[in-house]
Amino acid sequence: MIGLAHYLVLSGILFSIGLFGVMKRKNLLMLFFSTEILLNAVNIGFVAVGRFYGDMSGQIFAFFIIAVAASEVAVGLGLIVLWYKRTGSIDLDSLQMMKG
């Protein structure tokens, strides 16, 4: 039978996949994809805990996380497009302007 631990382990695995992406990728778009993976992993954890303890708050929090993710994508993608127009590159290394 599938219990809470299964879902939490799955959530941890997905979270670490996302963390690996954040650490490994240098492309800003890929960094955003990894952030989406992180948010989704946390969502699964919230909903699973809420389900197995009979609490609705988990779903409500997951709902707000989805709202935050949507607005993050809107603002972040606008900034990336602006940066690409200005420098012609979305590589993370091109952002090191303040490097002394």
Binding site: M1, R25, L29, S34, N40, D55, A67, S71
Partner: protein, 183 residues
């Protein structure tokens, strides 16, 4: 029985697709894999009796967010492979594995330790969507309104950032033209 099969199928597919997202060199493949993974995560939500959240996941993530990414990728050259400088590969792998183990312990620690009390238990005979609505419009009303304002701000900033005439003041433009004509 079916739950077990569904859980393992969905989790294998999700992990594989998200692995493709993280590893793939082509941005287009990554985006498609991410969209697929989001759909399978909606499957988890349906299994956890959170039907409303599953539908929202499909509509918002695979509908809106992925469409936004696809739209944004029209600005970039996506056909060529993403070239990245690689350094300190071993450090990254070690850190990722260590963090994975830590996260599993952190998440499962309090569950094993003590019993938790439900703050807002779901009422018998009330459906999932009804319950979400009940909580959203009573206990979490202020947060809900703030989320609405946040989405509005995000929409306006998204439009302003991508539009070309960002540095011009749109309301003053007619008067400027008139002044120029007079001169």
């Amino acid at each position: 029985m079916y739950e077990v099969i569904a859980f393992y199928t969905f989790s294998l597919l999700t992990i594989a697709l998200f692995g493709v997202v993280v590893i793939s060199k082509n941005a287009l493949y990554s985006m498609s894999a991410l969209a697929g993974g989001m759909i399978f995560i909606a499957g988890f939500f349906f299994m956890l009796e959170a039907e409303f959240l599953g539908v929202v996941q499909i509509i918002v993530y695979t509908g809106a967010v992925m469409a936004l990414y696809a739209f944004g990728m029209m600005f970039f050259d996506t056909t060529k492979e993403v070239r990245e400088r690689v350094h300190a590969q071993k450090v990254i792998y070690t850190l990722a594995i260590l963090v994975a183990v830590c996260v599993v312990f952190i998440v499962s620690g309090p569950i094993v330790g003590q019993k938790m009390q439900a703050l807002y238990p779901s009422i018998e005979g009330v459906g999932n969507i009804q319950m979400v609505g009940l909580l959203l419009f009573t206990k979490y009303l202020v947060v809900f309104e703030l989320a609405a304002i946040m989405l509005l701000v995000a929409m306006i900033s998204g439009i302003l950032l991508v539009s070309d005439r960002m540095n011009l003041d749109l309301t003053l433009k007619d008067e400027d033209d008139k002044e120029r004509e007079m001169i």
